[in-house]
């Protein structure tokens, strides 16, 4: 039976992190090199952790799926990274960043974790600047900031529209320096297939070498998962193609609690789906809503060109419904309303699944030069993909799955329910509650990797000791065999000439649609129960009918995808169960049954002020729900209102 102890230090909020560090055991400098740490994932979280652990003297092995650690999904983040520097002197502080983050998460995150995040945010900026990250600057040479995602202070640091790229290259270069120093060994084109436990502790992983197909064993004194988010369970998302749940899911099946799997963020401003061959969705920065006006035709079935629809027949529905916030309502409200007007048949474009984001008035007011100065690169990006110029006709946008707030449960030390298993970045559930604020994922990934894990892992290692490691343990052999069996099962239809086979992508797409329809922005009991009945059927179909060509002994991209989709097929079930169990609207999600008289989301603190943590109960048995209650001692949960 799983025990959830968040290990939050006692004492006042502002002193908790100091206290934790003071009370943590230390590994002496001379002993650090005796410890081997496996870091899976080289995004912001993994690369920063690997670099810092190696600087401290630990031996690190770093794994990633891509051909180079620099290509992790973090590279795609555009907008920026928050920190409480208050360089703009506009009233920001650690407490304000903490408050905004916890409120933005709709009071479903731990106070202590979020406060620590705000505290270390400033160190991150210092570190990145020292590494040579070319952040935007003012004329005087100081750092520039912008306000992002509706924040009332300018606390977002950015490097053009490529902030994630620059931060990742900073962390990557720090890690490469440690590779040269012999303290980090890189294992690119490796996919973790499973976690190995010895005496109940995380002691190793089993990987597939994606080039040779060999199953490889690696042992360590601790295992760090920084494997990113699971948004691709919906098939279409803004995530990179290889983003997956496999590593986290395998850890779950070995006993790690999975927290809040239903919490997924759906971003309102993405380029709409344009065909059934489509493989991914492209995010358009939400800064566009600062000047663009969102609208659809007032009546259904209006197929006129946007410029032919007179003002009186347009419905600027966000401005109409939310007069004080208008087009700048939070992501979830904007997304939900876009879906609603499209469901009413008022959507635009070929598919009817899009709304307009119109710059006409802003261009008339400020002139095209001013607008292009602000959004030129975004306009170009849009035009490159759609062949339409947003300067002369409105953009079309639609919501898309973007970020997973849910993830493996971790305590204050970032350790999961399996001793020795640490989880960082988007892969854990920690800091964003039921909704993540813009520019805070990069902050969290780097906070975890540079400034939190390096201390907390020492405490664990000091206690656990540096006993000799070996991959000869029977546990490795067992796990390796299971991985081999799974691969064989995925390949079983190959060359059989069996009729009615489907490709991995086709099956994945069906899973995605099912989830989008029943476990998307708005959810209800009926739909969720329906999904719970359909998922096992689809999973069965997957195993019966999946077409995976080639063999396991070579580079086989179909096999790689099939393994990830097989895990999504299982994971989807706890996601829907979690959504069903949470009978409140909160953060990103509306439960139809839980609304105010004005059809706005209604949170239910009396019954749901907790983290929902799912425990694996064995094949064919329903997962067990545990609850970690959330206590608010420094802020008072308020209901959000954007009217």
């Amino acid at each position: 039976m799983m025990k959830l102890d968040a290990k939050i230090p006692d004492g006042p909020l502002a002193g908790k992190w100091d206290r934790c560090r003071f009370e943590s055991r230390l590994v002496s400098p001379a002993n650090k090199r005796k410890f081997q740490v496996l870091v899976v994932g080289t995004g912001l979280a993994g690369a920063s952790a690997a670099a810092t652990l190696a600087e401290l003297g630990y031996q690190v092995k770093a794994f990633c799926i891509q051909d180079s650690p620099r290509r992790a999904h973090s590279i795609a983040a555009q907008g920026g990274i928050n920190a409480a520097k208050n360089y703009q002197n506009d009233g920001d502080s650690v407490f304000r960043l903490f408050y905004d983050t916890i409120k933005g998460g709709d009071f479903r995150a731990r106070e202590a974790n979020v406060y620590r995040l705000a505290q270390v945010s400033n160190n991150i900026i210092d570190q990145c600047v020292a590494q040579g990250v070319p952040f935007a600057r003012e004329y005087g040479g100081t750092l520039a900031n912008r306000s992002f995602g509706g924040a009332q202070v300018s606390r977002t640091f950015y490097a053009r529209g490529q902030t994630g790229q620059q931060l990742l290259l900073g962390a990557y270069s720090a890690m490469m320096r440690q590779v040269a120093a012999g303290r980090v060994t890189l294992y690119p084109r490796r996919e973790m297939m499973d976690l190995v436990l010895i005496d109940g502790k995380a002691k190793g992983i089993v990987c597939r070498n994606l080039v040779s197909g060999h199953i490889e064993r690696y042992s360590g004194h601790a295992v760090v998962l920084a494997t990113g988010g699971y948004g691709n369970v919906y098939f279409l998302s803004t995530n990179a193609m290889a983003s997956n749940v496999t590593a986290a899911w395998r850890a779950y099946k070995r006993g790690a609690g999975f927290a809040n799997p239903a919490f997924v963020q759906i971003h309102p401003t993405c380029i709409p789906v344009h065909g059934d061959y489509q493989s991914k969705l492209t995010l358009m920065s939400e800064s566009l809503r600062n000047d663009g006006r969102v609208w659809v035709p007032g009546k259904t079935g209006d197929t006129r060109k946007p410029q032919d629809i007179p003002e009186a027949e347009r419905d600027y529905y966000l401005e109409r419904k939310y007069p004080s916030f208008g087009n700048l309502v939070p992501r979830d409200v904007a997304s939900r309303n876009a879906k609603e007007v499209c469901d009413q048949g008022r959507g635009v474009g070929d598919t009817g699944l899009a709304v307009y984001l119109d710059f006409r008035d802003a261009i008339q007011r400020d002139g095209i030069e001013v607008i292009l100065k602000k959004y030129g690169n975004l306009f170009q990006m849009y035009e490159r993909i759609t062949a339409q110029d947003p300067g002369s006709q409105p953009m079309m946008i639609y919501p898309a799955v973007h970020y997973a707030m849910g993830g493996l449960w971790v305590d204050y030390n970032l350790m999961g329910t399996i001793p020795g298993l640490f989880v960082l970045g988007e892969a854990n559930f920690s800091d964003h509650g039921a909704n993540r604020l813009g520019a805070s994922a990069l902050m969290q990934g780097l906070a975890d990797g540079y400034f939190i894990l390096p201390y907390t892992i020492g405490h664990y290692l000091a206690e656990a000791g540096a006993a000799a490691l070996s991959t000869d343990d029977a546990a490795f052999a067992g796990v390796e065999e299971e991985a081999g069996r799974r691969i064989a099962a995925l390949l079983k239809n190959r060359g059989t000439g069996k009729k009615g086979l489907e490709t991995v992508d086709a099956l994945h797409r069906r899973l995605g649609l099912l989830l989008w329809d029943h476990c998307g922005m708005a959810r209800n009991r009926e739909g969720l129960e329906k999904a719970l009945a359909l998922i096992p059927e689809l999973r069965q179909e997957f195993w019966d009918r999946v077409a995976v060509p080639g063999s396991g002994q070579e580079l086989n991209q179909s096999l790689e995808r099939a393994g990830r989709v097989a895990d999504f097929m299982e994971f989807a079930e706890i996601m829907v169960q979690d959504a069903l169990a949470r009978e409140e609207s909160c953060g990103c999600h509306l439960r139809d049954e839980s609304q105010t008289a004005e059809h706005e989301a209604l949170r239910d603190d009396a019954n749901f002020s907790h983290v929902a943590v799912w425990e694996y109960a064995g094949e064919g048995r329903p997962a067990v729900l545990h609850r970690e209650p959330l206590a608010f001692e420094n802020v008072t949960p308020s209901q959000r209102s954007y009217k």
Binding site: S68, R71, A76
Partner: protein, 256 residues
């Protein structure tokens, strides 16, 4: 968005593995939506091959947004295809004519051995970065960020260079398979910033040495690299690399 469709004839390099010999295979794809991206077209082909029980074409890709640097192939002799400053994943079929034949092959260079079909091994680039593409600052020892002012125009220039996505197109398109644009971009980014000053000479010498060690060729000013770079990295960075190297060779201490 346009619902225009075209037919394309593809000649794709197929090679089973690193040691195997390769050859071109022809495929005809009909009714391709011109809003489709290049990798989406390859997806369509691969779905078909899979259902026919044939081997799909292996190709690298991940972000499909032009930023991770994972994708890349040579299309009709041009790395990343005909659209300027565009990665293969951001190249849409509207750039091609109905009935056109396209020859698609992997990035070729001595330092980039083929792994399978269009997939190549670019780990040499990581090793060049290991030689010196960083600023040596341990986590925790950084001064306050505004304690290191950087003139705006320098920061912008550094950012221009830092935009490199490490795809390797510059190398694949260079007749000498030189990595000067890639290395020049990193050297420039760090040389332009005050933070990079301390290790300037050491970095230039070490990265150039690593570049030679990996089997990359020398720059003879062909400018092909700049022409295909999806991020518009300028060959001014190569000039800066040469200056940095010469400067280091004259005044720097010899490499340890």
């Amino acid at each position: 968005m346009a619902a225009k469709t075209i037919t394309l004839n593809l000649k794709i390099w197929r090679q089973a593995g690193a040691g195997a010999s390769g050859r071109f295979e022809a495929y005809r794809l009909e009714r391709l939506d011109t809003d489709m991206s290049f990798p989406e077209m390859l997806d369509v082909l691969n779905e078909r091959l899979t259902l026919e029980g044939r081997e799909p074409v292996a190709f690298d890709h991940d972000c499909r947004e032009g930023i991770c640097g994972m994708c890349g192939a040579v299309v009709d002799g041009i790395a990343h295809g005909p659209a300027k400053e565009t990665t293969l994943c951001q190249l849409h079929l509207r750039h091609f004519q109905d009935g056109q034949t396209l020859t698609i092959e992997p990035f070729r260079a001595k330092a980039f051995p083929v792994v399978k079909d269009l997939v190549v091994d670019r780990s040499a680039l990581d090793r060049v970065i290991q030689a010196g593409g960083f600023i040596s600052v341990n986590t925790g020892s950084a001064p306050d960020a505004n304690g290191i002012p950087v003139p705006q125009h320098k920061a912008e220039q550094a950012m221009d260079a830092a935009a490199c996505i490490g795809c390797g197109a510059c190398i694949a398109s260079c007749p000498n398979a030189a990595a000067m644009l890639f290395v020049g971009a990193k050297i420039s980014q760090l040389a332009l910033l005050p933070q990079g000053e301390l290790e300037r000479e050491q970095r230039a010498l070490a990265m150039v040495q690593a570049m030679d060690r990996e089997g990359f060729g020398n720059c003879t000013n062909q400018r092909e690299c700049e022409a295909v770079c999806p991020k518009g990295i300028s060959i001014r960075n190569i000039a800066r690399l040469n200056r940095e190297f010469l400067r280091a060779a004259f005044i720097g201490e010899p490499l340890k």
